[in-house]
């Protein structure tokens, strides 16, 4: 069996923030499902690790949570992205794109391109 890639440090937070930004308030399970859907089976994620991260983001003020009812009427904690969270998302998206662009450029370079 092929090893699935681990979640890169810090990227999980980015995924969570993006998910909340796009989909609006979500409970933990919903976020986990969404990440799973988008990444497909490629990403090996212990879904449990999501919850400490949610706690941390809430402490940092990027998200807030409140009780609400889930689709099948269970009591669940819903997370919503805050203004701070949006700003953080923007910065991190830019950073990420930059990093990705740099890495991409390195991969494109071939030996004959070099002077």
């Amino acid at each position: 069996m092929k090893e699935k890639p681990d979640v890169l440090q810090g990227t999980l937070a980015l995924m969570v923030l993006k998910t909340l930004d796009v989909l609006g308030p979500q409970h933990g399970y919903g976020i986990a499902r969404r990440i799973e859907q988008i990444s497909g089976d490629i990403l090996a994620l212990n879904q449990g690790t999501l919850y400490p991260l949610l706690l941390k983001l809430e402490h940092e003020g990027s998200i807030v949570s409140q009780w609400g009812a889930s689709e099948n009427n269970r009591r669940a904690r819903f997370y919503r992205i805050t203004v701070t969270g949006r700003k953080q998302l923007q910065t991190e998206t830019r950073d990420w794109n930059q990093t990705a662009a740099i890495i991409a450029r390195f991969f494109e370079v071939k030996a004959e391109d070099l002077p």
Partner: protein, 908 residues
């Protein structure tokens, strides 16, 4: 910054940690439930659905733990747990906790008490800004052994212009008669240079002090008064500035009031509570013209230039003096050896009590050490009882460091609780305890239980707790798991190392208390010897009452200027006082002649020129003078050895006469062969009194027996007595001997004095017996304190040896029972246990004797009349210690002897 934020998040998690963890748990459970439902919908069997959900979630427990470890402060969390556990343990064995806490409270409390004294006196002796810049200057003539001869005005100016000092200021302490209010009062006053307050760096709370560069001849018309005098005599009048007051019949105006917190510097408590300061230029009327050789025996204080060390300043001063000597060879003859010595002011103020305080601190430190050792011993004793607990904890996976941390927390808790208790007791009892501190201690009023003292108490407790908790914790946590667990409830016999440490601790305790007891014994003997010393005078039933005559700046307004003028007053007061019921004898003298009672300020040393022995230009030796009336010697029971005493026929118009004591005869008239020559009939010239240079020869008419009127410890201080009817004195003491009521006599004498002159203040009545006992006060204080500490130490050591022997008996009860069962004599068991106690005592005494020899050598300066290696004290104290050690081991030994072998062996 990021680190800091993380720390605060962690800290807040630490307080809300429980809630966060709970939330994680809930959320994960929720997630699990949702996933399971979905799996069920996808057609899995219920058990498979749960399994898949759990797999997908990951190791929930591990995630939670990881989160906790990362987001919280595990160290603090553990500490909290440890403290809670420690509290529970202390609560479970209240007897042990109480004894341990009380012991530590005693040690820390006593140490803190002595520290508070040291803090006020030695560490903060000068309540002025930048106290390290303040120095005292002492001019000496080393060639003739004359000390503190004072400065002349040209010399003062040289110093002021030297660039070494910011300010140089003369000061002269005395008393003045303040008249005008209801009762004439004698107030402590200082004549100072105008730069005095500038040198101290203190300003007035109301009005101002003088311009430091003001140098008007004579006295300035403005005075500065203390807050105390302002409130006492002027009812805190807010419009006091500019008002006039009469001092010794001269009129002055109030220019400033010093702050309530201001205390003057000085070596006596009288001087430190000076009430009034007058400024003088010390030249021009009434002072003599400023000649280089006319020195004032005044105190000189100075403030160094900022950043100049006293050593560097001394160096520059020495250079200046060498240059002055070259410039004025006539004024500074080579054989005089004129020098000016500079001492940090703080040192000169506490000089005398420093040694006593250090001794006390050492003694109390030993008590603290002993109490700590005692508690360490108790902890060790408990350690063996807890061997099983430690083994089980280790077997369950506790790391050794974790165990040590827990044990250390327990002992620290004990020590901190003890320290807090000790401090609390001290704080509540501070008023009561301060009564026992002798008044002669400098800065007594500033002793307080401040934050610094509290910090000291806390630091001492924590340090002691760490040091004395570490060894027991180390040894308790170090155990052989298998052996301990297999021994079951039998305690741990194999703790060789632990019992060795316990023995060492007890030996140390005994040794320390022996050191303290020997120190106390030596001090007690010194004190006793001083107490029993042959005084050479008889203080019983004598009361001294002081008064002072006005000393106006203009001699023409002085109604007591000549001896004849003053004699009228004195003879009349003496005659009237003899009529007071119960009074048998009366006499009068100047203040310097009050036996032991006068302060250093009153000592008057004058140059003594002996006829035919020294040329005028030579530097003469200095001798203490006393001015007395003819009845003085008889009233004090001093015996005449040779010649005659003063008689009524010695008056101003007859040739001047003097009486010297035997010490003066020995020192100044040793004779050619050293056997002594008869000083009676010899003539001397006494010079150097301020403004009263008297060129007339004085004939010595009698020699009086040595008396310890100067110092109890010193048998022979050379003295010369002058007749008060020939040499008038301003500061007087009237003596009455007889069956009088000491409480009423003051008022009776006051009535008699004021019926002759209503303007004279009458103050400070004291019986000579009181004077005698207060002159011993610092010695008595340190002796009593050290004795108290020694008794405490002995008690603690006795407890220590009792505990250890009891523990040994417990540990060996099986062995003793077997011996008994096999037919051992009960007496033999008793002897065996006692021998263990005695061995400990002998080892302790051996170590202690060595320590005591070192300590007694160091405290030799505090002893009087007893050798630091006094055999009697050493052997006596050792015997007492041994006896106490045997007595303390006797109870456990009896218990061992009465052991029931059958019951003991069954119980095992």
């Amino acid at each position: 910054m990021k680190f800091l934020r993380r720390f605060f998040i962690r800290l807040s998690n630490f307080s809300t940690g429980r809630r966060a963890d709970q939330r994680l748990q809930e959320e994960m459970a929720e997630h699990l439930a949702l996933q399971t439902e979905e799996n069920l919908r996808a057609g899995m069997s219920p058990s498979e659905a749960r399994r898949q959900a759990a797999l997908k979630l990951g190791a929930a427990q591990a995630i939670r733990e990881h989160h906790n470890a990362e987001q919280s402060l595990p160290l603090a969390e553990n500490l909290l747990l440890d403290i809670r556990y420690a509290f529970r343990r202390l609560h479970r064995s209240p007897g042990f906790s109480l004894i341990a806490i009380a012991t530590i409270a005693l040690g820390v409390g006593a140490t803190t008490a002595i520290y508070s004294i040291i803090d006020a006196t030695l560490l903060h002796p000068l309540p002025y800004p930048n106290p390290s810049e303040l120095v005292r200057l002492e001019a000496n003539l080393t060639g003739v052994g004359a000390h503190d001869i004072g400065l002349s005005i040209p010399e003062l100016r040289d110093l002021q212009n030297s660039g070494v000092f910011q300010y140089v200021s003369l000061s002269f302490y005395g008393t003045n008669n303040l008249t005008g209010s209801t009762q004439p009062a004698s107030i402590s006053s200082k004549s100072v240079s105008p730069s005095y307050f500038a040198a101290l760096g203190v300003d007035a709370q109301l009005g101002r002090t003088w311009d430091p560069h003001d140098a008007t001849p004579g006295f300035l018309p403005d005075v500065v008064i203390s807050d105390g005098l302002w409130k006492r005599e002027f009812g805190a009048d807010p419009h006091i500035l500019g008002k006039s007051l009469r001092l010794d019949n001269d009129v002055y105006h109030v220019m400033g009031v010093m702050p309530a917190s201001f205390r003057d510097q000085g070596q006596t408590s009288d001087e430190r509570s000076t009430d009034l300061w007058a400024a003088a230029g010390f030249y021009g009327d009434p002072a003599p013209p400023p000649m280089r050789a006319t020195r004032f025996p005044f105190e000189t204080i100075a403030r160094l230039q900022p950043g100049l060390s006293p050593e560097a300043a001394q160096g520059r001063l020495d250079a200046l003096i060498a240059q002055l000597k070259k410039q004025y060879p006539a004024d500074y003859p080579t054989q005089g050896g004129w020098t000016i010595h500079l001492t940090p002011l703080a040192e000169t103020l506490v000089g005398k009590v420093r040694q006593s305080l250090i001794l006390l601190f050492g003694a109390v430190g030993l008590v603290l050490l002993i109490s700590c050792v005692n508690v360490a011993n108790l902890l060790l004793a408990r350690a063996s009882a807890r061997g099983r607990e430690m083994a089980v904890r280790q077997a369950l996976g506790a790391a050794r460091m974790r165990l040590i941390r827990q044990l250390l927390t327990e002992s620290l808790l004990l020590f901190v609780l003890g320290g807090i208790t000790g401090f609390a007791v001290l704080f509540c009892a501070r008023k009561f305890l301060l009564q026992f501190v002798p008044e002669s201690l400098p800065r007594l009023n500033d002793i307080s239980i401040s934050w610094g003292v509290l910090a000291f108490a806390v630091v001492v407790s924590v340090a002691a707790g760490t040091i004395f908790g570490l060894a027991p914790a180390w040894l308790t946590s170090r155990l052989n798991l298998n052996a301990t667990l297999r021994q079951e409830g039998r305690g741990s016999n194999g703790s060789q190392r632990r019992s060795r440490l316990r023995h060492a601790l007890v030996i140390g305790e005994l040794a320390l208390s022996l050191v303290l007891m020997i120190a106390a014994g030596l001090l007690l003997r010194s004190f006793w010897d001083l107490f029993k010393v042959q005084l050479g005078f008889n203080p019983t039933r004598v009361v001294a009452i002081e008064t002072s005559l006005p000393n106006p700046n203009d001699p023409k307004t002085d109604i007591y200027h000549t001896a004849t003028q003053e004699a009228v007053l004195l003879r009349e007061v003496l005659r009237r006082s003899r009529t007071i019921p119960g009074v048998e004898e009366t006499a009068v003298s100047d203040r310097a002649a009050i036996p032991l009672g006068h302060s250093q300020n009153d000592r008057r040393a004058v140059p003594l020129f002996r006829e035919g022995q020294e040329a005028q230009s030579n530097q003469p030796p200095l001798i203490d003078t006393s001015i007395v009336s003819p009845e003085y010697f008889h009233l004090l029971g001093m015996t005449l050895m040779r010649g005659r005493p003063f008689v009524d026929q010695d008056v101003e118009d007859t040739p001047l006469v003097a009486v010297i004591n035997q010490a003066a005869a020995r020192v100044y008239w040793p004779g050619k062969d050293g056997k002594g020559e008869d000083p009676v009939g010899k003539r001397v010239l006494l010079l150097g009194r301020l403004g009263r240079a008297n060129p007339d020869w004085t004939t010595i008419v009698g020699v009086i027996g040595d008396a310890r009127t100067e110092s109890l410890a010193d048998a022979g201080v050379p003295q010369i007595y002058l007749d008060i009817y020939q040499r008038p004195a301003k500061f007087l003491a009237f003596y009455v001997r007889g069956q009088v009521d000491p409480a009423a006599i003051s008022a009776q004498v006051r009535t008699q004095i004021q019926s002759v002159d209503a303007e004279l203040p009458v103050f400070r009545k004291e019986t000579l017996d009181d004077v005698l006992s207060s002159s011993l006060s610092v010695r008595r204080f340190s002796m009593e304190m050290v004795a108290l500490f020694a008794a405490t130490a002995l008690l603690l050591a006795a407890l220590g040896i009792y505990g250890t022997i009891s523990f040994l008996v417990n540990e060996q009860s099986r062995e003793i029972a077997i011996r008994l069962a096999l037919g051992a004599q009960r007496r033999a068991i008793l002897k065996m246990v006692l021998r263990q106690g005695l061995t400990l005592a002998a080892a302790g005494a051996g170590v202690g004797l060595v320590g005591a020899l070192i300590v007694s050598h160091l405290m030799a300066g505090l002893l009087y009349g007893v050798s630091p290696y006094d055999l009697f004290t050493f052997s006596g104290v050792t015997a007492v210690l041994t006896a106490v050690a045997i007595a303390a081991s006797y109870a456990p030994a009896l218990r061992a002897m009465r052991l029931d072998p059958i019951a003991t062996l069954h119980a095992e």
